[in-house]
């Protein structure tokens, strides 16, 4: 009886493990889509309203969901209140925190930090150029992630179950 219960648990955990990996992939894709939407809002704020970065970030924070709402809100308040660091330092610190709270990868972190280094610097056109460059990088990542999800999503789930069944057979 214990053996059967153990086997069922093992297979179930294998299935859940596979599901977790495939779901992470899916969630990252959703978050990349959300970032794309955010870039569009930022572009509008800068291009048409000429708002300052803290104002633009607060506007984004109101129109997006967690964890990005927290991220943009904290960057904005830090820019307005903490007068000890530059824009790039504040942005980088908050991106590192965002990475822990989201499904974004190290690669995504690099692109985001790169964006922070060029924001607030030079003229309005340069801001838009930086956002457009980031948008291209995002689109490339989204494309890769979608293909990966299509190819590997099912594989993760099958693999999780198969490995657990294999383990069951070995243990029995």
């Amino acid at each position: 009886m214990t053996k059967i219960a153990g086997c069922i648990l093992l297979v179930l955990s294998g299935y859940l493990g596979g599901f977790y990996f495939s779901n992470s992939c899916k969630m990252r894709l959703e978050q990349l889509y959300e970032l794309k939407r955010i870039v569009q809002i930022l572009e509008g704020e800068i291009r048409y309203k000429k708002t300052t970065l803290p104002e633009a970030f607060l506007s984004v924070a109101k129109r997006t969901k967690l964890p990005f709402s927290n991220f943009f809100c904290s960057v904005a308040s830090e820019l307005l209140d903490n007068r000890k660091a530059g824009m790039a330092e504040i942005w980088q610190e908050k991106v590192e925190k965002l990475l822990r709270e989201s499904k974004l990868t190290k690669n995504d972190e690099g692109f985001l930090i790169q964006l922070g280094n060029s924001l607030g610097y030079l003229d309005g056109k340069s801001q838009i150029d930086s956002l457009e460059l980031y948008m291209e990088q995002l689109e490339e990542e989204i494309k890769k992630n979608r293909e990966e999800l299509y190819k590997k999503g099912k594989v993760y789930q099958c693999l999780g179950v198969s490995i657990s069944i294999l383990l069951v057979l070995i243990f029995i």
């Binding site: 800068i46 000429k50 708002t51 300052t52 970065l53 803290p54 104002e55 820019l79 307005l80 007068r83 000890k84 530059g86 824009m87 924001l119 607030g120 610097y121 030079l122 003229d123 309005g124 340069s126 801001q127």
Partner: protein
């Protein structure tokens, strides 16, 4: 010193200015120049400021402003977003929260014959705006004739209080008094100094019947206000371009009254400017208020009517 002003400066300058023992109302300018001592203009007197926040006359002991001080100050005053002030920077200034104007100088970047941008900004002049409620009270009887407000021009050299006076005239005209009904006033605040709007809301008291077009070119703004807000009075600061003249002519012919300011020392002085001369020759304005900084900022030298007759009978501070 108020926090909104202090917060625009770099840490070091913030800590010095914070410890200055001064009456804020009397502080007129704070000047930052790379590798030069920090300076302030206080009660029309120039002082250097040392590390211990003493106002001194010897430049050797003044706190030397670094390039980093200027860069940090630019970051803070623009909220890390210089791009958002591109148009203002191109004109050599930006207006910060509270309506204080920051003059900028550095290396100009040209595009054809136009100024494209300003780079290596190395000189900053923070001119503090002060709202002096009531400063226009004594001149108000002079700009009303038989119960009706006159087209009025305020003439003053820079830094002698013309914007402060204009701001108070707007407030008094808009609010009205016991025996005088308030009038709808439209303000075209091209440099954001009159109303000091923050997110579209004036931070200075401009009266209950005042509508403000913030950061709008005067020539366009006057016509926009006429069409959209039906003002009885339009107020603008620092007129002088040919485009302004065309809009002023239009405003004056629409039955709307105009209150404007001009840079200059006297009527003779402003006559040298072709655009303004035309306004004077055609007697478009009914009252001319001449300001100076002789006794103190905002000293009224005289008030003339359109024929050049002096109307002013006493020295009003």
């Amino acid at each position: 010193m108020s926090e909104e002003v202090l917060l625009i400066f770099s840490e070091k300058i913030q800590s010095i200015l914070q410890s200055l023992m001064i009456e804020e109302d009397k502080l007129q300018e704070i000047r930052l120049r790379v590798e030069e001592p920090l300076m302030v203009l206080y009660e029309n007197q120039e002082y250097f400021v040392d590390d211990s926040a003493n106002m001194i006359k010897e430049r050797e002991n003044g706190y030397i402003v670094s390039r980093q001080d200027i860069e940090q100050t630019l970051d803070y005053m623009s909220q890390y977003s210089l791009y958002a002030y591109e148009d203002e920077i191109r004109q050599g200034f930006l207006t910060i929260q509270g309506g204080h104007r920051v003059g900028l100088a550095g290396k100009i970047v040209m595009e054809g014959e136009k100024i494209k941008n300003l780079k290596h900004i190395s000189f900053l002049n923070v001119r503090l705006a002060h709202q002096k409620k009531g400063c226009a009270k004594k001149i108000l009887p002079y700009i009303f004739h038989e119960g009706k407000i006159c087209h009025t021009m305020i003439i003053s050299p820079p830094g002698c209080g013309k914007t402060t006076l204009l701001r108070d005239i707007i407030r008094l005209v808009s609010d009205g008094e016991k025996d005088r009904q308030g009038l709808t006033v439209g303000v075209v605040d091209e440099r954001g100094e009159i109303g000091a709007c923050y997110h579209g809301v004036p931070q200075n008291d401009l009266g209950v019947r005042t509508d403000v077009l913030d950061c709008c070119p005067k020539s366009l703004g006057m016509l926009m206000l006429l069409r959209s807000m039906s003002p009885k009075v339009i107020a603008v600061d620092e007129i002088g371009t040919r485009e302004d003249l065309e809009s002023i002519e239009y405003v004056l012919n629409c039955g709307c009254k105009l209150i404007a300011t001009v840079h200059g020392k006297s009527i003779g002085d402003i006559k040298k400017k072709p655009v303004i001369r035309k306004l004077l020759d055609e007697k478009m304005f009914d009252r001319y208020i001449i300001l100076s900084g002789k006794r103190e900022v905002g000293t009224i030298e005289n008030i003339f009517d359109s024929m050049g007759n002096p109307l002013f009978r006493e020295t009003v501070k």
